[in-house]
Each structure stands twice: as C-alpha cells, then as structure tokens.
Symmetry: C2
Subunit: 302 residues, 2 copies
C-alpha cells in the first residue's frame, strides 16, 4: 500500500457480500488487526467466523463498534439510520465511520442526524461492485479489484477521515474517486438503478403471462444475461428505490418517454427511425465498452 493504512480494530456492520468481501480483502492486504463482525443472526455470524472472514461476531451494533478505529456500515439502506443512531454514543473519538450504500444523499442525511459532532468523521462511500448473489458465503477478497469506489464527502467531512477511507478501498484493489452525493445518485440511478428496475419488471411481466413456463423455456442466453440482475437481493432494491426516489423517478420518466417513441416507430412501421435508433445505440454501447467504462469483469454494481 502506498498509504500507511493500518486499522487496529475494524467493525463491519453487516457481514454479507460487501461486508464479507471487504473483511477478506483487508485481511489479505494485512491492513487490519482484529475484525469484529455484526449482524442480527447468531448462526450467520458463527458461519462468518468459521469461514475466517471475521475474528468475532457480535449481535449488538453498539457493542461491535466499541474500541474500533474504523467502522463500516454494509447493511441495506433501510437499516442505516437505525444503526447509526445505535452506534453514535459508543464511537471512539478517533473512529472513522463509512458506509457502502448505493444511494448517498439519504445516508448523509441520516448520518448528519444521528452522529452529531462525529458526523465530521463520517465518510459516505459506495463501492461499484457486487454480484447477484448475497450473503457471506458469496463474499470473496477480489470483489473490489479494479472496480471503482465513489466517496461523497461533504464540506464538514475531515480530510484525514476521507483519506483513511480512500486508503481502505485502495488496499482492496479499488480505484477511488470523489464526487458530490447528488451527482453520484443521478449517475447510479441511470446506470444501475434503472437497469435493475427494467430487468425486474421484465421478469415479472413474463411471469404473469399464461404461458410463463413456455416463455422461460424458450428464453435464450441474451435473456439470461439481461435478467441476471433481477436475481439481486429484493430488500436491497426496495431500499434503493426508497432512498434514491427522486433520481429514479426522473430516470424512469426519461426512459418511458423514449420507450413510447420507440413504440410509435414500431406501430408506424417506420424502418428508418428504427434503424437510426438501433445504430445510434449500438455505436454508443460499443464505444462505451471500448473505452472500458462499462467493462469491468462480470460482477455488477448497484
């Protein structure tokens, strides 16, 4: 590591795909000492200890963060506010707190309300990585390798805290970028939240049809890839919809408008308009992939 990151005691709240992979990656990078994992289910924590992902499992978030110099919230967005309120009184003075939520403005507001003076040491973050699988069993140390992590510090955020969180993600092999939360939320609504909602809606539309068995039987590889993201965790996506509502609605409206234009071209049998649209989209997609933007390996972001 270029930066001298060492985490004495790491508290990972939520030991699922993201939290588990983070713990594995930091361990592998020799970037931390003791790792405390926190979750609501004892069996789950025991499994995480047995897998060597965490050193110790604790069910109470307030107890989990005691003495930790780095606290990472990797829980669904809907659980953030409650957990922030629980841990606030127990945070060590020097503790840096960060999160991995897929919508940032909502988490920042929750943290501002819950953390009081400690809000200065809260660094909002979002690793653009994941798979459609969930749980600690699906976690792996390489999940963040080569992927982007977006940090969205606010003016109050201490630079030293942001630097520590950036170093944490770099130790996991990620590429760290900073932007403001509103821009993050808009970007993610367009490139991740909207595609997930479109895929969920497609699968649900087909599943509601009389010949659903037939439909799924004849669906080909393109359909499989297209709908892979509809296997993602439903709770996580409910929470994303609630937390990033405005940006998502704006994208849904923009999309519906475009779909209506396409429908009109199909209905009119307007081959020229259709060809122009498809050629333009193909060119944009091919260019995006060529430039590497949309091309990290199979894991998806949320």
């Amino acid at each position: 590591m270029p930066e001298a990151l060492y985490i004495r005691r790491l508290a990972v709240l939520g030991v699922g795909l993201i939290g588990g992979s983070l713990a594995r990656a930091l361990r592998r990078a020799d970037a931390c000492g003791h790792i405390v994992g926190c979750g609501r289910r004892r069996e789950h924590l025991q499994r995480a200890v047995a897998l060597g992902v965490i050193d110790e499992g604790v069910e109470d978030p307030a107890r989990a963060v005691q003495g930790a110099d780095m606290v990472v919230l990797a829980v669904p967005l809907g659980a953030m506010a409650g957990i922030l309120a629980r841990i606030a009184p127990q945070l060590a003075a020097d503790a840096v707190v960060t999160d991995a939520g897929s919508a940032k403005a909502a988490v920042i507001e929750a943290a501002r309300r819950a953390l009081g003076p400690h809000f200065r040491r809260f660094v909002p973050g979002h690793p653009i990585a994941g798979t459609e699988h969930s749980g600690v069993e699906a976690s792996f140390a390489e999940l963040f390798q080569g992927h982007r992590v977006i940090l969205t510090p606010v003016p109050e955020t201490e630079r030293e805290a942001t630097a520590r969180v950036a170093a944490l993600w770099r130790a996991c092999g990620a590429q760290v970028v900073e932007m403001d939360a509103a821009r993050h939320d808009r970007l993610l609504a367009a490139t991740s939240h909207l595609p997930h909602l479109l895929a969920y809606t497609l699968v649900d539309s087909l599943a509601a049809m009389d010949d659903r068995a037939d439909l799924f039987q004849y669906a080909a590889g393109g359909f499989r890839d297209f709908t892979r993201i509809a296997s993602s965790d439903p709770v996580m996506w409910r929470d994303i919809c609630l937390a990033n509502r405005e940006a998502i609605l704006a994208m849904l409206d923009r999309y519906t408008h475009a779909l209506q234009a396409l429908r009109a071209a199909v209905a009119a049998g307007d081959g020229d308009a259709l060809l122009e649209l498809f050629a333009r989209a193909k060119a944009a997609r091919d260019q995006a992939v060529q430039e590497g933007g949309a091309a990290p390996a199979s894991p998806e972001g949320s």
Copy 2:
C-alpha cells in the same frame, strides 16, 4: 447422425454469423458435399471461401440455388421476400428451402406468395442462437450446439421436407422443436424482441444525456451485461420490428403497463409493493434458470 442426412449441394443465402456457422457445422458433421454461399458483396464471399466456410461464392441468388437440394435463407428478414422471388424459378424440383428468420408468420406469407407450388417444400425455421457479433468472421461451428431450433411448418408443408430440415439442425448439435408460427412469434416477442428493444432504448436514453461520458464511465458490470444485446445488428432488429410488429406492440404495451405500476410504487414510497414485486421476479428468474430454460451458454438468441 441418427438420420441419414446427406446434402449433395447446399446453398447458403447470406453468409453471416448464422449462415456461416451453419455451413461450418454441416461441413464438420460431414453432412454435405458442395457448399455455395451467396451474398451481395464479392469481397465478403471471397473471405468466406478463404476461411473455408463455403466452397464457392455467387452473387446472384438465382444462380446460387441451381442444382441445390437444400437452400437456407440466412438473410435479414427484410431481404427474404425479394430473394424468395428471385430463387423461385430456379429451384430444383426436390430442393428443400428453409430460413433462419426471427419472426415466422411474415416469412411464411412471403414464401407462400413467392414460391407457388414449391411452397410445400419450404420449412420455416428459427435457430435460437446468436451472439451480438455479426459477419462470417464471427461464425463458428459450435454456435447451435445445445440450442433450440424452432420449426413452424404449416399444413401444406411436406413432412419429408420438415424431417430433412430437422435432421440438418440436429447435425449441427441443435435440439429441434415444432410449434405454430403465431406461438413462436409471441414467445420470441416476449423473451427476445422485447429485451432487445429495452436494452437499445436504455443505451439510447443514456447516450442522449448531457453527462453521457460520465454515465458510461461509471456503469458497472451489470449494465454491461444488460446492454450487451444492444450491440446486435441494427438492420436485423429493424427488420424484426417490422416483421413481428403486432406481437412486439402487445409486449411493449404489457411492459409499459408494468413499468407504470412500478413507477407508482416508487413515487408513493410503497416499500411493501416494491419488495413483493422484486421478490416475485427474483423467484421467477431463479426458478427459470434452475430449470435450465434460460440458461444455454453465452450466445444469445433473437
């Protein structure tokens, strides 16, 4: 081969991904003698000969089918009617004619009009296989291995002709099923045509935004998979929209309706409705993949 298929002289009209892969697969299976490829561009045919995909390249369809006992049309749907009219007077009496078009009712009508008495030996077909790449360079003998080919014979179609086309596709490693054209067109509109249109529309919506460079840069793997099918051949997809218009419009309307319901749930912050929808879609998708229906290897169908 269980069936004693031997094609004396095969005419492949359109030596692209599908036509080229078919020629390669039949050659590898020792299922045919001379292969004549037909296409509009001489350089393209020369390349196909140099690659060993065809024995001979001919630019004129009427000449290409002379003496052939099996004629396969692997051209965009929009070119079918014209080519059928061109070849009709030159077909040998015993020649079986088939196609690989992604919409069947429209091709059947075109064949009925063009072929006259030879229509009895026309077997409408559709291999559910493909990739987002086009052209003879992208063709490979294994493309159809383990994939379904749907044949949609009509009452007039001679059983012996259908049996020969079924044997042809089995020799390529495909699994052959029969159904009526209307059912094929509805199934494909749902599982292939609609997903492609949704992906094209997504990419085009994003490309039209001010921060398109940013958007594509931060798009993750899920987006890449989701939009891969938007790299498919624009001409082919224009033709599919024109040829399968009614079924596609019905699916677009069904989808738009579902998307409006999702929008309403997001706007209302209705977490229960969102969770129910996502959980239902995830269950349907996971079940479909488990049952293997949506899970042939990476190539896509159209």
